[in-house]
Symmetry: C2
Subunit: 344 residues, 2 copies
């Protein structure tokens, strides 16, 4: 059983010879829907096993003009929400026979260049869940007939599959969670950088406030992480209080909420939810930790990811179908940072 590394690699030719068949036969033995008699198939598989043969996907892809490689372009992978999303998507792709190439892209420029790099691989599709790619990518994908699906990346782009949460509902829900349990002077904190889903939910929240003539103050954080929350709370803290101060704040992100919460408690001695109520967004794992027990709004990232890959596979099978645009509902999760335990 020669296992010296100088071994020539084994090709379909070797297998064919050992099995006493043609190369086409071995090809057929390893193709999913090919006509081949069970008997020869077995001979081939047997020989392949013996030789340690594996079909060379590079050669196959070259010939068939498509690969089972897909691209996943993602930002902030070290964030619990994104990590979960990517984990699910990657697993699902693999389960369906595809291999995800992972590209970390924090800026729009990176999204563009990294996506473009993927085109050299005959990728079967592209999943983007970071910044919205510039339109050059879309036209390129279109030209190359590469399906592309966007997750939480904003309004419909022509001919691009899209899956997103219901930002509108998200903002309204946050408003409701806060006001239904007595908050009357609100605040919202969200990152200064504009992004469809994050900015969107904040905007919807503000609109809901305006519609109900409830005063609302806006606080812009540097980013959307814990430390950004811990930073912005310095501006919020002084305005929270019994006499006419803020008594309900919506943080566009759970992470942001934790930072704000800790600052409020530890630096301003404010008690939650007695003096201020707090609502976050995403319902990441940490939100249920007993040190926080954050009331929040859940988007089902697992369902999103699963649907994203399904959409893509659909598209691969049927490239001409119309682009879909699905929006996922969002649900309230009442925990201990709101006063209302709320039947729901």
């Amino acid at each position: 059983m020669a296992n010296d590394p100088t071994n020539k690699r084994v090709t379909s030719f070797d297998v064919a010879r050992l099995a006493g068949v043609s190369r086409s036969a071995v090809s057929r033995a390893f193709s999913d829907d090919a006509v081949i008699s069970e008997k020869t198939r077995e001979k081939v598989v047997q020989a392949a096993e013996e030789l340690g043969y594996r079909v060379n996907f590079m050669a196959r892809s070259l010939k068939t003009q498509h690969s089972n490689l897909v691209g996943i372009v993602v930002s902030a992978l070290d964030t619990p929400y994104r990590a979960g999303q990517v984990k699910i998507a990657a697993r699902e792709f693999v389960r369906k026979g595809f291999r995800p190439i992972l590209m970390i892209a924090e800026t729009e420029a990176e999204v563009e260049s990294l996506s473009a790099q993927l085109f050299s691989y005959n990728i079967a599709g592209l999943l983007v869940t970071s910044a919205t790619p510039p339109s050059s990518i879309f036209t390129e994908c279109h030209k190359l007939a590469i399906p592309i699906v966007l997750v939480n990346r904003g309004k419909e782009v022509d001919g691009v599959d899209n899956i997103q949460m219901d930002t509108q509902q998200g903002g309204e829900l946050a408003f409701e969670m806060l006001t239904s349990s007595g908050a009357t002077r609100l605040a919202v904190v969200h990152p200064q950088e504009v992004s469809f889903s994050v900015t969107g939910r904040a905007d919807a929240f503000v609109q809901a406030c305006n519609r109900a003539s409830v005063p609302v103050k806006e606080f812009l954080s540097t980013g959307q992480t814990y430390s950004d929350g811990a930073e912005i709370v310095k501006k919020i803290g002084p305005q929270v209080g019994p006499d006419g101060g803020i008594d309900g704040v919506f943080c566009a992100t759970d992470l942001l909420a934790f930072g704000v919460m800790d600052g409020l408690i530890h630096d301003f001695g404010i008690s939650i939810p007695e003096q201020v109520q707090l609502v976050g967004f995403n319902n990441i794992e940490q939100s249920s930790w007993r040190g926080y027990e954050l009331s929040t709004i859940q988007q089902d990232s697992e369902a999103q990811s699963l649907e994203a890959v399904e959409m893509m596979l659909d598209r691969i099978k049927n490239p001409s179908q119309k682009a879909k645009n699905v929006v996922h509902p969002v649900t309230p999760v009442y925990r201990k940072t709101t006063r209302n335990s709320h039947g729901t």
Copy 2:
């Protein structure tokens, strides 16, 4: 600028024709170290741009017998520690011109099958940071001359590059952190499933206790997450107390520590660090959150990841070099779950 999807894909042949050169010339223009005059190179690049040409990596790989694809096999990607690790590694690979294929493998069987799948792609290397792959993978890699590097996957395997934290030092440090500030009756909690780095640090801790004749109780959790900590604390809580009870516990993972901590505080009314001290492991981001401020032991996952990819690239360049085995030191981080603020 035709952008109809029926467009034939553009090949080096098209570029060659437009530029008025041979196909070899365009190949040379896109190869890093090839002899070509600046003038023709420019003509080619120009033509390529115009046509939207991109070299087909499948064809290139087929010809050259190697690709710039690498595999990353990982488990528990949705855990903050792993997510950070993978993010860094993936970015670094891309920066160096490689494309990481992400494989999520929770069990050893999955590691085996997913790694094997990657061999169909002529991958340039394999990075494993989940369960330790079975030896079949090693021999396969050896046979195919594919470099493989293991991160925190235990003792040296013959001919396999390996990078790991200093488990011994980790366990001893935990012992020191606890005892130097007065703990005298210790406990350790770690997952029942054996894994090199996690079980290793716990074992080292127990040994340190034994050596110093300090009593220590062992608690086995189901896994290594928050909820596993929240579960096992039910057994620990009753044994913590003023009269001869446990007064110092080392959790093999920060996540585990959070679960234990919350249970101790909320279900048993125990105050930390007054009644028990707590030390975790990893120093993930959440450990510094003010809701926890966990004293812990840091392993520098960024450095580890960076070094892992460097090792791999080294290996790719110089396949015959001896396997390396580097161990990274580990450092104590004193926060509020130990009594000692300790100069360090």
